[in-house]
């Protein structure tokens, strides 16, 4: 249906606005949505820019202006830089893993056999599960005396007791892989849908022209997956920058705060009653995402123009 309607769409978009749009498409239709957006989204965001510069906390009732005090404190003890670095590394790794896994699964399960259908359903179960639950499951699996070490011991014949969640370097990578594990089913679906839109005869033509299967895949089919890649990379990046549940349930930010992404920091300082510091970090997250998001939006826009 969408494909048959694609042609009228461009015509409709370019139609000159000769009709009196005020009467046919009245502005009051926008009011409820924008009222909600204003009160529950824009206003708190504006508040962010105000309260990040105060000494708002649970310890006293009055709120006073504190200048850049919160940021200075966060900078001087290194928390700000660390949390930013951890969040960016985590987001980049999630985007990488989730797309590699999802793409691999889509290619592997492309044909519509009953086994492939069943496997696709299996990979969708984690997508439906709560992220918190996923974190707890892997916490149990990866304990030093947990099942992963147990299985490895049985396979190698030696006693394996790796502290998977105890490394200040690799636990973050593992957390990103687990985040990717939860969402790879969704990426797989998007890639599968992308692969399905490529007609058989395109690859057939390439083969007749003498392209090797490898060439045919990478230079014909892969570029045609561009919209799916954009969507998947963007959603993975944004989802992980706003991440909280999986890491909180898996490590709680440890060991030694090496997996403390921004939202865990905000949660922790808020719990301690340091509202202004939490707000300052929330503002940092906002600014970081806003800065990194502009390229993403541009790519999304470009994709819209192509189609």
């Amino acid at each position: 249906m969408q494909q048959t309607l694609a042609r009228p769409m461009t015509a409709a978009r370019r139609a000159p606005a000769t009709i009196a749009r005020g009467r046919t498409h009245p502005m009051w239709f926008l009011v409820p949505a924008f009222a909600i957006l204003f009160v529950f989204f824009f206003l708190p965001t504006l508040f962010n820019f105000v309260y990040a510069f105060t000494d708002w906390s649970s310890f006293k009732s009055e709120i006073r202006y504190a200048g850049f005090g919160n940021f200075a404190a966060l900078l001087s003890d290194g928390t700000l830089v660390t949390a930013l670095r951890v969040t960016i590394v985590y987001a980049a790794l999630v985007a990488l893993f989730q797309n590699l896994f999802g793409f691999g699964l889509a290619v592997l399960l492309e044909r519509d056999t009953w086994l492939n259908r069943a496997a696709r359903l299996a990979f969708l179960v984690p997508v439906l599960m709560s992220a918190l639950a996923v974190g707890y499951v892997f916490q149990a699996l990866l304990k030093p005396d947990g099942s992963v070490n147990g299985l490895l011991s049985a396979l190698t014949g030696r006693e394996v007791d790796i502290a998977w969640l105890g490394s200040t370097t690799w636990t973050l990578v593992l957390a990103a892989a687990i985040h990717a594990w939860k969402w790879m089913g969704l990426s797989m679906l998007i890639y599968l849908a992308g692969l399905k839109t490529i007609p058989e005869d395109v690859t057939e033509a390439a083969r007749i022209d003498g392209a090797t299967p490898w060439q045919a895949f990478w230079s014909i089919r892969f570029p045609l997956l561009a919209p799916a890649v954009t969507f998947n990379v963007a959603t993975a990046l944004l989802g992980s920058m706003n991440g909280f549940d999986i890491v909180q349930a898996l490590t709680g930010g440890g060991p030694a705060r090496s997996t403390e992404i921004l939202n865990i920091f905000i949660y922790r300082t808020f719990g301690q009653g340091l509202f202004a510091q939490a707000t300052a970090m929330s503002l940092v997250l906002f600014l970081m995402v806003a800065l990194l998001a502009f390229p993403v939006i541009r790519v999304l826009r470009k994709r819209e123009e192509i189609l």
């Binding site: 409709a12 529950f40 990979f123 895949f217 995402v289």
Partner: protein, 290 residues
């Protein structure tokens, strides 16, 4: 993980013999992948949830000496206050989704049909929430000033504010594919804007609204982060209870109860998914790859 997949894709179309071999090996690769990657974690959940406390102290993959899944589920049902939390979750998810879909599609219709600079700015503002993270801390302050702190209404408003952007982005794109002539025909017959929207446009939006419903239900049903800030401690939702209960002393070293809770909590979505999987899958993919 991707290497065997690429290899087998590359093998397609080579001599018939190798194609046959790759095709015959592929099912084994699928099974060899699904069992450890999906089977092990899910098996762990089920067996641990069926064990006694002593056996579940250190969760492993061995089957329980005696299956007591029902007893554990019953215990969690009572101690974890599942019925209350379930109602709390429903109370928040239902209205948020209804609100977001109705108001979101109303706005999308106008944003898709009008032209001009003002409209472009409004559209950019409306979809900015897809990218920008909500200000979780100051939302709490604002809700307190509005007298909505800790209330379901406040929570619904917050979810609506967060996910309206997603709906508007999806639906605006879709409305542009609906020919203007359909609206004009209704207008000729004397229908006003409200009539045109609700009886011509809205029914046509069903596929994209299905996609949006699924995604937003998923996000809101499983959300714990925003719920913690907005209603933490005052309203029970399923994920919030899991979080509080897993952190609390009561459930320390009670892996069997944590996993029983996880099963109870995931069940509603799994049932919905099992019943409507075909429509859900086509809904998600239809909306994303236009």
């Amino acid at each position: 993980m991707t290497v065997p997949a690429f290899g087998s894709a590359a093998n397609r179309g080579r001599s018939p013999v190798s194609r046959g071999l790759a095709a015959r090996l592929r099912p084994f690769a699928v099974v060899a992948l699904v069992v450890p990657v999906m089977g092990v974690p899910l098996w762990l959940v089920v067996v641990t949830a069926a064990k006694s406390q002593g056996e579940a102290l250190s969760p492993d993959l061995s089957p329980p000496s005696e299956w007591r899944l029902w007893e554990n589920l019953a215990q969690v049902w009572q101690q974890g206050e599942v019925p209350v939390a379930f109602l709390g979750s429903l109370l928040v998810v239902g209205p948020s989704v209804a609100l977001v879909l109705t108001f979101g599609s109303m706005a999308s219709w106008i944003l898709a049909r009008r032209a001009g600079r003002l409209n472009a700015v409004l559209y950019a503002l409306a979809i900015s929430g897809i990218v920008l993270p909500p200000a979780v801390v100051t939302i709490v302050l604002l809700l307190r000033q509005l007298g909505l702190a800790g209330s379901p209404a406040g929570m619904i408003g917050v979810y609506a504010g967060i996910y309206l952007s997603t709906v508007i982005f999806f639906v605006t794109g879709f409305v542009r594919t609906v020919p203007l002539s359909l609206e004009e025909a209704a207008r000729m017959d004397g229908a006003g804007p409200a009539r045109v929207f609700f009886s011509v446009i809205l029914p046509l939006l069903r596929p994209v609204l299905a996609t949006a419903t699924i995604l937003i239900c998923l996000y809101v049903w499983n959300d714990v982060f925003y719920a913690f800030f907005v209603v933490g401690g005052r309203l029970d939702t399923l994920p919030l209870n899991l979080f509080q209960v897993a952190n609390a002393g009561l459930y320390l070293n009670n892996w069997h109860l944590i996993f029983a809770y996880i099963i109870l909590m995931s069940l509603p979505l799994l049932v919905v998914f099992a019943v409507a999987q075909r429509r859900i899958i086509s809904g998600i993919t239809g909306g994303a790859v236009k």
